[in-house]
């Protein structure tokens, strides 16, 4: 029995892609899953939805892409560095909206003070939407990042 070292990564190079059925159905489904994720993100103010749910749906689309086409192909569309930038952009957008509200004379995160739209209510609607986009970006990037981290433990090319 071979002991597996904790510090040394298991170096094993093999091609991991799904079957032709998996790849064909994934190539049809992935765009619709991503579109559905964007719909949930934008629709959050009107009905069920919002940043957290949309982020998870978008991440699920990319994880399905990995399951079908392999990690190498997914990392061409969504490089690890881009994922890390996206993950930190979300809180930046959120805190930025809060600071922007202070600059325009309100309290922290008081979207009604922002000069958007015609009334404070409309300004706060746009503020909520922008903040939801930030949340969705962070959740999506973190889900994909955790998935990459677990998938990269074994060297799969």
């Amino acid at each position: 029995m071979k002991a597996i070292s904790v510090t040394e990564p298991v170096v094993e190079t093999r091609s991991v892609t799904g079957s032709i059925i998996c790849r064909t159905s994934a190539s049809i489904m992935v765009p619709f899953i991503l579109l559905w994720g964007l719909y949930v993100l934008i629709h959050g103010a009107l009905g069920p939805g919002g940043g957290f749910q949309a982020g998870v749906i978008l991440a699920a689309g990319f994880i399905l892409h990995t399951a079908a086409f392999g990690l190498k192909e997914t990392k061409k569309i969504l490089p690890v560095k881009l994922v890390m930038v996206m993950a930190s952009t979300g809180p930046l957008i959120y805190v930025g909206m809060g600071i922007l509200a202070i600059i325009f004379g309100g309290n922290f995160l008081e979207y009604g003070a922002l000069p958007l739209g015609h009334s404070p209510a409309e300004a706060s609607k746009y503020g909520i939407e922008i903040v939801e986009v930030g949340i969705g970006l962070t959740v999506m990037a973190i889900m994909v990042s955790i998935f990459y981290d677990i998938a990269l433990r074994k060297k799969v090319e």
Binding site: A45, G90, A121, I128, V139
Partner: protein, 91 residues
């Protein structure tokens, strides 16, 4: 012996919780304490104050914006921690 103690303590806590259930207010009771404090303000004022028809989103992102900011920070921190602990390759 320890297993029986665990089963006994679980049964005891279940009995305590079950004893408290009849005293809970009915679901959707307008006179329940949870519905008398801020819920009325949310239902009446969330559209004119936040501009979004979805009360849940108005509460989540506007009235409790600090809380949601904290949640986002928690998710971000969790992801960074996983990165630091188990990431092998940084490219």
């Amino acid at each position: 012996m320890r297993r029986y103690l665990a089963i006994l303590s679980c049964a005891l806590f279940f009995a305590i919780l079950a004893y408290g259930v009849p005293d809970l207010p009915d679901l959707g009771d307008p006179d329940a304490p949870a519905n008398k404090h801020v819920a009325q303000r949310y239902i009446e004022g969330s559209y004119t104050e936040s501009g979004v028809p979805n009360i849940v989103t108005a509460v989540l992102a506007n009235y409790r914006g600090y809380d949601t900011l904290g949640e986002t920070a928690v998710i971000f921190t969790a992801g960074i921690t996983v990165m630091l602990l188990i990431r092998r390759k940084w490219n």
